[in-house]
Amino acid sequence: MSMFKKGEKKEMPAIASGSLSDIVFMLLFFFMVTTQMRETENKVVVRIPEASESVKLERKDLASYINIGAPIRRLQAQYGNEPRIQLNDSFKTVDDIRDFVAAERDSKSENDRAFMTVCIRADQDVRMGTITDVKQELRRCSALKIMYSARKGQ
């Protein structure tokens, strides 16, 4: 059987590696397009609670985020470790939410304003008092669509 004859050395043809870079570039472009850099730096620690019934946010581009939690360790000397509200890039108080919502609403296109969702990303140890204040302020600015951020668990 010539098929299984040993000793007959065959030269393996070299695999053409010229297209390898093309493939990699394709992947690269995919990730470049889908990636989104985090534009704001987290200044509060947010450990998101778990909820088995959480659903996906439909329109990510229409969401604005309110982070609530204790300041990160580096900033604790300055700001203490009481839960704080972070809007965009800085610590704010409940009163600033009005301006924040107005600014966010302006940045969305006219048709989509009604669908703007405010995503409350709060740490699981935050007391509801803070969140109730935020919710009341949101109601006052009539930003009624909200979402409690939660991980899909279990």
Binding site: P49, A51, E53, V55, K60, R127, M128, K135, K145, A150
Partner: protein, 193 residues
């Protein structure tokens, strides 16, 4: 005399591209946001007189979480693991008890007339409640309603709620309407032990 330019060795472009690829792989965040969607009630107009919404007492279940994260449904303390069943029994009122929510026949497009419950779930919390517990309770309430809708969908269309098309989902939502209302925050004193 034309000199031939030597071909540039291109085998390292792949390596360079890999390097970039790794960078973007590391920094990318594909994880989409998930959470519990809610609609807040609009702020009542201060000029308008608050009309007494005559909701029959039997139609409301008040779920309360106090500052020590204890959960009360109605007036009795309850463990979170039993909350879902309690809500489901409350909403469906299987024995037509006069203490549980009333039902009302309603014409629903695409299905016909069905008895629709008038139950309202009201969630109230204290300022001292932990967010974690609050979300857990919200989750249980959502789960109860989702399960009831699944059951209704199974009965009407023989499919799970999420497998239905838009019109059918709308019909099921009318059959099983209960919404979770987040009650006006009450100023419960911090001194309440």
């Amino acid at each position: 005399m034309a000199k031939k330019t030597p071909a540039i060795n291109s085998s390292s472009t792949a390596d360079i591209a890999f390097l970039l690829l790794c960078y973007f792989l590391m920094t990318t965040t594909m994880g989409s946001q998930t959470g519990l969607s809610r609609r807040l009630p609009p702020m009542p107009d201060p000029n308008q007189k608050v009309e007494d919404q005559k909701v029959n007492r039997r139609n409301i279940i008040l779920v309360k979480i106090n500052s020590a994260d204890r959960i009360f449904a109605g007036s009795d303390p309850i463990d979170i693991s039993q909350l879902k069943e309690k809500i489901k029994i409350f909403v469906t009122n299987p024995t037509d008890s006069p203490n549980l929510p009333a039902k009302e026949p309603k014409e629903i497009e695409g299905i016909g007339t069905r008895n629709v419950t008038k139950a309202v779930i009201s969630l109230q919390n204290d300022r001292g409640t932990t967010y974690d517990v609050y979300i857990a309770v919200q989750n249980e309430l959502v789960k109860a309603i989702n399960e009831l809708r699944d059951e209704a969908a199974m009965k009407e269309f023989g499919k799970k709620f999420l497998a239905l098309n838009e019109d059918q989902q709308k019909a099921i939502k009318e059959v099983m309407p209960p919404q979770i209302s987040e009650a006006e925050p009450k100023d419960v004193g911090k001194s309440r032990r």
